[in-house]
Subunit: 314 residues, 2 copies
């Protein structure tokens, strides 16, 4: 078996790639643009060309490569089949099979990008050293990944780890992107947090430092002002902490991981956010003191390439 | 490897035992009383004596036995350690190790009884033919088991499948046995259903057929009257269906099984209950039409011995 592996994280605007030692060391990372035209037909050939070029430049033979893993921004079936991937324009294809052919037979595995990022954090990030983790990614949306015994629980229909679409709130009126009403994503994503803050400002005349940002208010600013002691911003942060704590409590009662890893742009709020989540998580799991802990993700945007590379090491 | 296996389901008043072909055929089942005195020290010797007697009677040698599995009514750590089992009086013991010694070295594995019952339903019950199922047992309490790739997700701290203690309701005031407030068990267990019905009757003067049963009202009677068209009973059944549907939706977004299997005494309400659950489950998972289905358990009280026996076949 080869001593190198490759991680490919396909995003809507660029593809991130990483060349790794199978021990987990990142040797080189680079990007190529995501060409979405014509149903995304050029994406995999671009990826393959770019990988073959890097291997050639570094004098790495195909035999030295254990394989390439791919994170796809959409649901991936257990056999690698992608029914539809809106972000890339793909329909009814099998990217892992296609990429393997384009790479001259190098083994390729694929998975949903949020699940793959969770695997990356387990391998070399906040969850390093643990076999069972759940990652929650708080970005534009809320993604997640459930890792048990070092393996992704992708689910039988590609819904494994779709934590952002857990229904948590009955009194929501607006619809989530998924068609649901009251999803975690509507509260705890960057967009959700800013929306909650705007709602609070609209519902009251009380002063708040958040008002200076107007409609352009971001989740970062909400948390910054909460840390500065702004009452209304603190209420929003409390609410986000409550619903995330609630979800983590549910997850602990379902698969009981060793560690919850919180990532994505919103997690830059750091320990302040973790403390808000943890307070509610503990309150909602009185059944035992002995349960999964909560930490911050450490790999940032590289979690995807790490996890994709790790796919090849089973 | 042997062609027979033994399933042991230890309950608070009796131990159920089953002798199986490794193909899944139940050859013989029997019970012994659970002697809880003196910290439950006689339970495993009683079980071992009873097993050895049956094997002798049937002329089955130890070599023919692949092993014995044990379902324990409390948390079991991954190595078989039981810190405390209130129902049996056990403290700080390893029943799988002890029973194996008492059986002259026959391999023994153990698990939490609700998890083990789920494995039984996967093997020969409502989940037969599927690798990934979640069982929800609606009895005096609400138990559960998460099975992925034919294996129990017991969790790192023994909390895997503790579905009854998922927090689902913020407006609850009473405490659950676990110390929490607003657990699924407080609504969807047999005791919870009867309590909800009594609450509804106390809160209104409206007529209801449920009133004839007084304080002795049972969950069965609530569902019977709901099926008969009693409005207040229907409201209770709707509520139970809502919270169960909510939990199943959360579980689908977490581990996405192929099948949800609903068991326990309350599940005798049958398809009427499944329909109530399914309506809400579907409403709360608009993200995809393609998701886990819901069915009734089929093994009844034998799920535990089936699952315990199945523990030995990995």
């Amino acid at each position: 078996m080869g001593t190198k592996c490759i991680g490919v994280d396909i995003g809507g605007t660029s593809v991130k790639l990483g060349l790794f030692e199978t021990t987990g060391e990142l040797l080189h990372k680079w990007e190529v643009p995501t060409r979405r035209e014509e149903g995304g037909r050029y994406i995999l050939p671009d990826v393959a060309d770019s990988i073959l070029k890097i291997l050639e430049e570094r004098g790495i033979t195909q035999e030295e490569v254990a394989g390439a893993g791919v994170g796809v921004p959409g649901p991936v079936m257990p056999d690698g089949h992608v029914e539809v991937c809106v972000n890339l324009g793909w329909r009814d294809c099998n990217p892992q099979k296609e990429l393997s052919e384009l790479l001259g037979g190098i083994p390729v595995k694929s998975g949903n990008d949020a699940n793959v990022a969770a695997l990356g954090e387990m391998w070399q990030g906040g969850g390093k050293g643990f076999d069972d983790i759940i990652m929650v990614t708080l970005g534009t949306g809320v993604g997640g990944g459930v890792i048990i015994d070092q393996k992704i629980i992708a689910g039988r229909h590609g819904l494994g780890g779709e934590i952002g679409h857990i229904h948590v709130r009955d009194d929501e009126k607006e619809h989530c992107n998924c068609g649901g009403v009251g999803c975690l994503e509507q509260i705890a994503s960057a967009t959700g947090i800013a929306r909650e803050a705007r709602r609070k400002m609209a519902a009251s005349d009380a002063p708040s430092a958040m008002r200076q940002y107007g409609d352009a208010l971001t989740a970062k600013e909400v948390f910054d002002e909460a840390k500065n002691g702004d009452g209304m911003a603190e209420e929003v942060a409390e609410m986000v902490g409550y619903y995330l704590g609630l979800c983590l409590a549910q997850l602990a009662m379902t698969v009981d991981p060793e560690m919850f890893v919180i990532g994505g742009g919103v997690s830059k709020a750091g320990q302040y956010l973790i403390d808000k989540i943890e307070k509610n998580y503990k309150k909602l799991t009185p059944i035992s003191e002995n349960k999964g802990k909560i930490c911050l993700a450490t790999l940032g945007n590289d979690a995807g390439i790490y996890g994709a590379a790790r796919l090849m090491l089973d």
